[in-house]
């Protein structure tokens, strides 16, 4: 545990980088310092390994003040990822990673073995071991920087905008690798970023710093998004914080509808959305009504078991038919579809469960006129379909997604009641719509077999 006790840092030129910072970084968790440029995050970070000394207050590590430790000894126990990686350009990848171990006096072979091990765990090929940093891509360099910070297995890791230089796709991969590593060995991590999304994605605890170096708010990412302490935090976490907050709602609460599924795009009737899947039942795209046999791009998909409502809503918004395609986490196989309305209804449901006070809970059977009459909260005014009531029961029964009738009807009703012009036929189970594939079309995967497909 690292404790900042009213720590301040005023530089010689009079700039106050950090002002009266009191913060506890609990052991084994990720604490993110986030704020606009000049918020003092980097300074706060560098005070922990004493690259910068505070001008007031003190910092304790497991109860003892940092000042009581020798600087070099302290630093060898704290991993550090500098802005942009800070790799040594004149040292090979393994030598970079082995920096701290060799300073600690490990033997050459032990250091190299450890470095190769770390290459594996940060997802780099061992073939890169003897390259120089300049011969690596941006993302690879950042992985090496991470590996170097972890080399001597430090209990504390400091990261200064570790992923800032990577493009968004690489950054997401780096986040995943980082979280995997953190899950396997829970270290005390203090990370600085300017990116709220990154803070929310990585932090167990997020501290928002103001441009003048004051701490504005500390809390879990969810708390910050849902209850920003003041207008600065609210403004900083952004206008779309409501959308971001969907990251905390699991997609497993959704009930899935179904669409006809084919393996061969040419074999489908083009009169309604029909999903094309490959031999392993992974969705490939939609049958294109304009060009028989053609496949329209799928858009994003979401993972049914582990995904979030944010990913589901995104999938719905990017789908050509407004239908989010859910896939299984293992194997990415088609599991069902959901409309944006269904997703919003699930959001409403989640809100009712978390915060009953500000939102009047109504029976699902209540008249719909209330919504039209100006319910203060459009989301919560969406009626609660039966299927959503059953969501929790269903969650225990994995088989529920294989029962199209109930689900399909539930979505049909939802579509009607919320006045959306979704093509309801799409959501009806197979037994109510003609099978477009024909009973003896062997390439067809009957919707009623989806249970088998999903497993």
């Amino acid at each position: 545990m690292i404790e900042f006790e009213s720590v301040g840092k005023t530089f010689r030129d009079g700039t106050a980088a950090v002002v009266d910072l009191s913060l506890v970084v609990p052991t084994g968790t990720v604490t993110v310092l986030v704020g606009p440029a000049g918020c003092g995050g980097t300074t706060a970070l560098q005070m922990v390994n004493r690259l910068v000394e505070p001008t007031s207050g003190r910092i304790l590590w497991d109860g003892s003040p940092l000042r009581s430790r020798r600087r070099t000894a302290l630093r060898r126990q704290i991993g550090y990822v500098a802005q942009g990686g800070g790799l040594f350009p004149h040292r090979t990848v393994v030598d970079n990673i082995g920096t701290v171990p060799s300073l600690l006096g490990w033997t050459r072979s032990k250091t190299r073995r450890r470095a190769l091990e770390l290459l594996d765990s940060v997802g780099l090929e061992r073939g890169l071991a003897d390259r120089y940093p300049a011969q690596l891509g941006e993302g690879q360099q950042q992985r090496v920087a991470l590996a170097r910070a972890l080399a001597a297995d430090p209990p504390v890791v400091l990261m200064d905008e570790p992923f800032a230089a990577a493009d968004p796709a690489v950054r997401r991969e780096l986040h995943t690798s980082f979280l995997d590593l953190q899950r396997s060995t829970a270290r005390t991590v203090l990370l600085v970023t300017h990116d709220v999304d990154e803070a929310v994605a990585l932090g167990d605890q997020v501290a928002v710093l103001q441009a003048d170096g004051h701490l504005a708010q500390v809390g879990s990412p969810q708390e910050l998004l849902e209850h920003p302490a003041d207008s600065f935090v609210a403004g900083f976490v952004g206008r779309d914080r409501g959308y971001r907050a969907l990251s905390f709602a699991p997609a497993s609460a959704l009930d899935l509808g179904s669409v006809p599924v084919v393996r061969d795009a040419g074999s489908a009737a083009a009169d309604r959305p029909t999903l094309v899947v490959d031999a392993d039942a992974r969705p490939v795209g939609w049958v294109d009504p304009a060009g028989p046999g053609e496949v329209r791009p799928l858009g994003a998909t979401f993972e049914v078991e582990s995904g979030t409502l944010r990913s589901a809503l995104d999938a719905a918004l990017t789908s050509p038919y407004g239908l989010a395609v859910g896939v299984s986490a293992a194997g990415g196989r088609y599991a069902g579809v959901a409309t944006a309305d269904a997703i919003l209804a699930a959001v409403a449901q989640a809100r009712r469960e978390h915060r009953p006070e500000p939102v009047p809970v109504r029976e699902p059977a209540e008249p719909q006129e209330q919504q039209a009459a100006g319910g203060a909260h459009p989301l919560t005014a969406v009626p609660l379909p039966d299927a959503l009531d059953d969501a929790e029961d269903d969650a225990e029964d994995d088989g529920h997604r294989a029962d199209p009738p109930g689900d399909g009807h539930a979505y049909a009703e939802l579509g009607d009641e919320s006045g959306q012009d979704v093509d309801l036929d799409v959501l009806r189970p197979g037994d109510e719509t003609p099978d477009p594939l024909g009973a003896d079309d062997e390439t067809a995967i009957r919707e009623t077999e989806r249970a088998g497909v999903g497993r």
């Binding site: 390994n49 070099t72 550090y80 800070g86 040594f88 350009p89 004149h90 920096t99 300073l103 920087a145």
Partner: protein, 218 residues
């Protein structure tokens, strides 16, 4: 204006000696200057803002005409002859230091902050950081300085012929006084050959010692 091949043939041994002298007079001051410039450059780099004026002083030193230095050095040094080759060596060393310190400072300044921070954060002490990280990274700039200083030294040694020693420069004097064409050409060709050889050696050493900087501007 034909080359006097017989002269060349007769003087092969003499020419070889002159080339050897020339190389020694040019290269030894470079090496001495490097040894002096590394710590001096580091000190200057550490002074931060004060480095600016000090570097300006050094620039003035490096712009003093070589001949003036050759004549001044004997006045400053303990008593010995004005025609001693040591005068030339000392003058060229001073000249080299003035140029190389700038290269060392530039090299140290080129080390990116995150790299320096990473070195400290890894637990290097200041000396370890300097020797294991900062100086190696300053070397490309230092090599660039070495090339310039070596080239200019090879040229300046010839000028030193005017104060007595001067290796290949003696050939130019000889050509001037005897109106002979061949020593002039021999002196020119050998000077240029020596310069090219020295440059090639520096580049080879750079390649061998800085494998990571391959492809960067030398």
């Amino acid at each position: 204006m034909n080359l006097d091949w017989r002269w060349l043939d007769r003087n092969t041994g003499h020419l070889a000696t002159l080339v050897g002298q020339h190389a020694l007079l040019a290269v030894v001051p470079v090496l001495v200057a490097l040894v002096v410039a590394l710590p001096l450059g580091h000190l200057l780099f550490r002074t931060g803002r004060a480095a600016g004026p000090l570097l300006a002083v050094l620039r003035v030193v490096s712009s003093i005409p070589a001949l003036a230095l050759f004549v001044t050095v004997p006045l400053v040094l303990p008593p010995h002859q004005i025609l001693d080759p040591l005068n030339v060596a000392v003058a060229l060393t001073v000249h080299g230091v003035a140029l190389l310190v700038r290269s060392v400072v530039d090299g140290l300044r080129s080390v990116p902050d995150p790299v320096r921070q990473s070195a400290s954060a890894a637990g290097f002490g200041w000396f370890g950081r300097l020797v294991r990280v900062e100086l190696p990274l300053a070397m490309p700039a230092v090599f660039a300085g070495l090339r310039v200083v070596t080239m200019s030294n090879i040229a300046l040694v010839s000028v030193a012929a005017l104060v007595g020693s001067g290796a290949l420069g003696q050939l130019f004097q000889q050509a001037y006084t005897t109106r002979a064409f061949t020593p002039l050409v021999a002196g020119l060709v050998l000077s240029v050959a020596l310069a090219l050889l020295a440059d090639a050696v520096i580049l080879l050493v750079r390649r061998g010692t800085l494998p990571w900087a391959r492809g960067q501007r030398a």
